[in-house]
């Protein structure tokens, strides 16, 4: 038993708990001239909670994460539903196709979006050919960053919902209809609650990386889209303020945990239709 659990425990210890502990510790230290000094203080948190810029970054990132999650949700449900219900023997292929852009790497995918949205990009160039002005809203704006996020993260959402739906017994929908539920009512009463866990996992898979996102807003967002993640990255890079960066990491981690906890409260295992998860 212990032998079997060992590797897992070691992995969690080395990759999760130790770094987390280190970050937590550093967040109470002080950096000067690119060096960390272990004099314990709360200055970093004081800075984070009083300086308007950091609040703005965090709120902006949170808002962007919420909007991105909701857009992904709206887009992914019909797609996943269609594949699960009507994909037939091409189901797996269709899901893999959705994941295909992953094979090229994040930077390339963002660069591609830049190539489409930018001033000399596909859209604006095409508009120019027809003598129309370029769409400014797509050039280095928060909107462009959000579209980039949706594009990057929607496959996670589709996959999570799809995996939930392939285990969903669609016969239950017929039962609901015979018992007097119209299509919309049947969705609300049966399909949605029985696939909520999968949907919540999808939301978490989109929300959390989006909250910490740094690269996408930097490439697509322009000056008014500086995100919490970008700023965090700068603390460890250009400015060399590791202690402040660590405090930002702790805040990000706490925020993500909070969101997960809120989602966790919405899940009632007994009412999820799940069996074999210890809930009886």
């Amino acid at each position: 038993m212990l032998l079997l659990a060992g590797p897992g425990v070691l992995f969690i210890l080395v990759t999760l708990l130790l770094p987390l502990l280190a970050i937590f510790m550093f967040s109470f230290w002080r950096t000067a001239s690119y060096e960390l000094y272990p004099d314990w203080n709360l200055d970093n948190y004081h800075v984070l909670f009083t300086e308007a810029a950091y609040r703005t970054f965090l709120l902006r990132s949170a808002l962007s994460a919420v909007v991105t999650s909701l857009l992904c949700l709206l887009y992914a449900w019909p797609v996943a539903y269609f594949i699960a219900r009507h994909g037939g023997r091409y189901r797996l292929l269709l899901v893999l196709l959705l994941a295909a852009p992953f094979f090229t790497g994040v930077i390339l995918r963002i660069a591609a979006l830049q190539g489409i949205f930018g001033p000399g990009g596909l859209i604006n160039m095409a508009l120019g050919i027809f003598g129309m002005p370029p769409i400014a809203a797509l050039m280095y704006t928060p909107l462009a960053a959000t579209i980039g996020h949706v594009y990057l993260f929607v496959p996670f959402m589709v996959t999570a919902i799809y995996l939930s739906l392939v285990n969903f017994n669609f016969d239950l929908l017929e039962t609901a209809k015979i018992n007097g539920a119209g299509p919309w009512r049947a969705f609300v009463e049966v399909t949605w609650p029985l696939n909520w866990i999968g949907t919540a996992i999808g939301l978490a898979l989109v929300f959390i990386p989006c909250l910490a996102s740094a690269v996408t807003p930097r490439f697509l967002g322009g000056p008014s889209a500086t995100s919490f993640g970008m700023s965090l990255g700068q603390q460890f890079g250009e400015t060399g303020t590791w202690a402040l960066g660590s405090a930002m990491g702790v805040v990000l981690f706490a925020f993500s945990l909070l969101v997960l906890a809120v989602m966790g409260f919405t899940v009632n295992l007994k009412r999820s239709g799940f069996t074999g998860m210890g809930a009886r």
């Binding site: 039962t175 015979i178 007097g180 539920a181 049966v190 007994k270 239709g273 069996t275």
Partner: protein, 361 residues
């Protein structure tokens, strides 16, 4: 079953067909079912009986024909407007809802008030003996309990019709026998017509007032259960309903109401149906219980000499397997109590000349 002519049938099918490409799953069915009827669709798998049920429920649109419920044409009506109850083989309870929530689901969909929902729930739980299970979830119930919840959900809104699709197929034998009696009791008490689909002839015979035997999308026979059992209309029905010995031979002398058939060198006297002429090949079906095994050769009727090979004990009855001289076997069913002959003994199998049914093959 006779119906009062002044009120419309609870369910009418008028030349209903359903084609899946070149396959005629249901092929021009006409059917009327009365208010007080327990009606069974009996047939092997692939005979079209489930497709027919799904057409009645509205889950399948017929290729041609009309479906009427209480005189109203519902052919184009979606299932959720038809007010028909349905019970499935695999129960299909909502796993995220409690027993009580499952049962009142149809009432909630019909926007029945909370107070009335409560009353009806109590009534349904009592009828189906589900007391104390209201707050359980479906995965906390036994198969039999799940099926009763499913029945309660089907019955609580007092539908115009209850459809049952092999509801007992997933239950063990003992429970099945108990539920057969129960289900028939609900039908008689509530006076709601039941349409019951099964491939199990025992279930159909136990519960039904009328039975339709279905094959390849058409009715082979439709009638009271006694007729289907005693007077099969086709060789298929004769083979499918009840347990019969099947003897195939050639008709020799054909009289007004009897014929003589040669079967493996034996001359048998059989009842004569219309349409058989001398020289025709004939399939003769005689039910196990119509055959008797005796130690001595009887004075009259058909008799074949053989040896009692084995006795298959069935409880109330036993099957007596008799091997004839040429190796073929005839089976007789009788009370298991008075076993007059011992295994291995020389016996006669015998049946009256009027028993059994002949069909031209």
């Amino acid at each position: 079953m006779t119906k009062a002519d002044d009120r419309p049938a609870s369910l009418s099918l008028q030349s209903v067909s359903k084609h899946f490409g070149p396959v005629k799953a249901v092929d021009g069915i006409d059917l009327d079912i009365g208010q007080d009827e327990f009606f069974s669709l009996l047939g092997p798998s692939g005979s079209g009986k489930t497709t027919m049920l799904r057409i009645i429920a509205g889950l399948e649109r017929p290729t041609a024909g009309r479906v009427l419920v209480r005189g109203q044409d519902v052919t184009a009506m979606p299932p959720y407007k038809r007010r028909i109850g349905m019970v499935f083989q695999n129960f299909l309870l909502f796993p995220h809802k409690t027993v009580a929530e499952n049962i009142v689901f149809p009432l909630r969909m019909q926007n029945v008030g909370r107070a009335e929902r409560g009353e009806r729930l109590v009534w349904a739980m009592k009828l189906l003996r589900l007391d104390g299970l209201a707050e359980r979830y479906p995965n906390e119930l036994s198969g039999g309990q799940q099926q009763r919840v499913s029945l309660a959900r089907g019955l609580i809104s007092r539908p115009a019709l209850l459809l049952l699709d092999e509801p007992l197929a997933n239950l063990d034998r003992e429970l099945r026998a108990e539920m057969e009696v129960e289900i028939r009791r609900y039908q008689k008490e509530l006076n709601i017509p039941f349409v019951y689909v099964t491939h199990n002839q025992e279930e159909a015979l136990t519960m039904s007032d009328r039975i339709a035997v279905m094959r390849n999308g058409v009715f082979e026979q439709i009638g009271p259960r006694n007729d289907v059992y005693r007077k099969p209309a086709t060789a298929f029905v004769a083979a499918f309903v009840g347990q019969s010995n099947q003897l195939t031979g050639r008709a020799e002398m054909v009289g007004p109401d009897s014929l003589t058939m040669t079967w493996r060198g034996h001359r048998l006297h059989l009842p004569h149906p219309d349409g058989i002429a001398a020289g025709d090949e004939v399939r003769f079906f005689i039910k196990y219980e119509d055959v008797e095994v005796t130690p001595e050769r009887p004075a009259q009727g058909n008799h074949l000499g053989g040896r009692l090979r084995d006795i298959i004990f069935k409880g109330q009855t036993a099957n007596y397997i008799v091997s004839l001289a040429d190796g073929s076997e005839i089976i007789a069913s009788a009370s298991s109590r008075d076993q007059k002959v011992a295994i291995g003994a020389a016996v006669s199998v015998t049946w009256p000349a009027t028993a059994g049914m002949c069909f031209k093959s």
